[in-house]
């Protein structure tokens, strides 16, 4: 049995990340757990990172790699915006990330989902998995927790949801993944991007619905004992 915790293991964001388009923009969602081997190094991390005012990226895989890639792209996009004279498009951001991911594929271990809104194409989601493939999709899922969501999305995803439907859908999905993936956990964060701007939301676990074999959280056993006297069994 492995009793030693490998506290020098690299910070990996096991993770569940999701990006979804709806009729008017995109909703990005993620869990908040960063693990170092078996230890949870950060239980409230923010994996949805801003690149520009209108483009955000969900990060998964190695925390260091995804942070450095998003830092570089934020820097490039800033310069691009100055040169262009208007905000960058989500397509440009995604292609820049693809370039870095592809050309450094031997060294990087990070899967990213880019989501943004621009006036030319509206809301768009781009997935950039390991290896540096760029693929535009109506929705994307990534991270270790995504394995548990393929069936859910195949069954429940539909085109043209409203903003609230899309956000509830994302929250439900991340919450389901957290229920089964040991590497995902903490809170569910969402970012909604549309023509009006960006909205960040935060759903701690008590705001989420309970799944199979999960119980209503209590302060203490004592509350359960004191709340009602035990009822006689009906035999």
């Amino acid at each position: 049995m492995d009793l030693e915790m490998n506290l020098n293991a690299s910070h990996s964001m096991g993770t569940t990340i999701i990006g979804v388009t709806y009729n008017g923009g995109v909703v990005l969602g993620a869990d908040s757990r960063t693990s170092t081997g078996m230890y949870v190094a950060n239980r409230a991390s923010d994996k949805i990172t801003q690149l520009t005012d209108n483009v955000y990226v969900c990060r998964s895989g190695s925390a260091a790699d995804s942070q450095i890639v998003s830092d570089y792209i934020r820097y490039f996009l800033h310069q691009h915006t100055i040169q262009l004279g208007q905000s960058a498009t989500s397509k440009v951001a995604a292609n820049l990330i693809r370039l870095l991911s592809y050309n450094n594929k031997n060294m990087l271990e990070t899967g990213l989902i880019v989501g943004g809104w621009d006036k030319y194409e509206g809301g768009k989601i781009y997935a950039i998995p390991l290896g540096g493939t760029l693929i535009e999709q109506p929705f994307a899922i990534g991270g270790s927790g995504s394995s548990y969501l393929y069936g859910f999305f195949d069954q429940a995803w539909k085109e043209g949801m409203t903003k609230d439907e899309a956000e509830q859908f994302v929250v439900k999905a991340v919450s389901l993944a957290i229920a089964r993936d040991g590497a995902s956990g903490g809170v569910v964060r969402t970012v909604i991007i549309n023509s009006e701007g960006v909205t960040r939301n935060f759903y701690p676990s008590d705001k989420l619905q309970l799944w199979h074999e999960e119980l209503e959280p209590q302060n203490s056993l004592l509350d359960l004992l004191n709340s009602s006297s035990p009822e006689p069994m009906n035999i």
Binding site: N106, A127, L130, G131, T133, Q137
Partner: protein, 245 residues
Amino acid sequence: MNFMALKQPENSLLGSESDSQRTLYPYVTGTSVAALKYKDGILMAADMGGSYGSTLRYKSVERMKPFGKHSLLGASGEISDFQEILHYLDELILYDNMWDDGNSLGPKEVHNYLTRVMYNRRNKFNPLWNSLVLGGVKNGNKYLGTVSMIGVNFEDNHVATGFGNHLARPILRQEWHENLSFEDGVKLLEKCMHVLLYRDRSAVNKLQIAKITKEGVTIHQPYSLKTYWEVSAFENPAQGAIGSW
């Protein structure tokens, strides 16, 4: 940190590990491509799957792309490397057009270019992890060739990559003939794609067929094939030997 572990053996032929890049393994992969020559040109078929290991992760990946006026490129293997090859080809076609001399690169020339690219990358131990199928029609001449990730290249009346080599080529060898009609060509390719769907674990039931003639390139819309399971032997296969398969 144990610095002794980082020291390279002095007689290593591999050079310094840190400054050479090498593609060690593919991540998002496409499976077989099959193609054949027919009366009016070339027909090529590929499914739209992008597998991530054993997961059928992406189901709308276009693995055949037209470029130039005369040619179509289909690829199996690592999708990111295929996307990079498309960038190289865009650049090649751009420079070709800039000559503005009325000549345009035909499929045979592009095949040669790709062969050089693939072979030279292989020599540097940094392959583009793809098997490519290159088809085209120029000046009435039909061309169909293939290049692998190690630079093996040849042209033939019918080619396939990956599992297609083992499952589709025998069918094509048996049933292909000169001057196939469009309908017969499509039916023959669909027969191959059927077998691949039954027997290739990474096949996805969503495919595209592309056609190149002297008029140009058409990639038809994605569609799915009906599969046949009503074989009486399938109903109760373990009947004669309980516990068998």
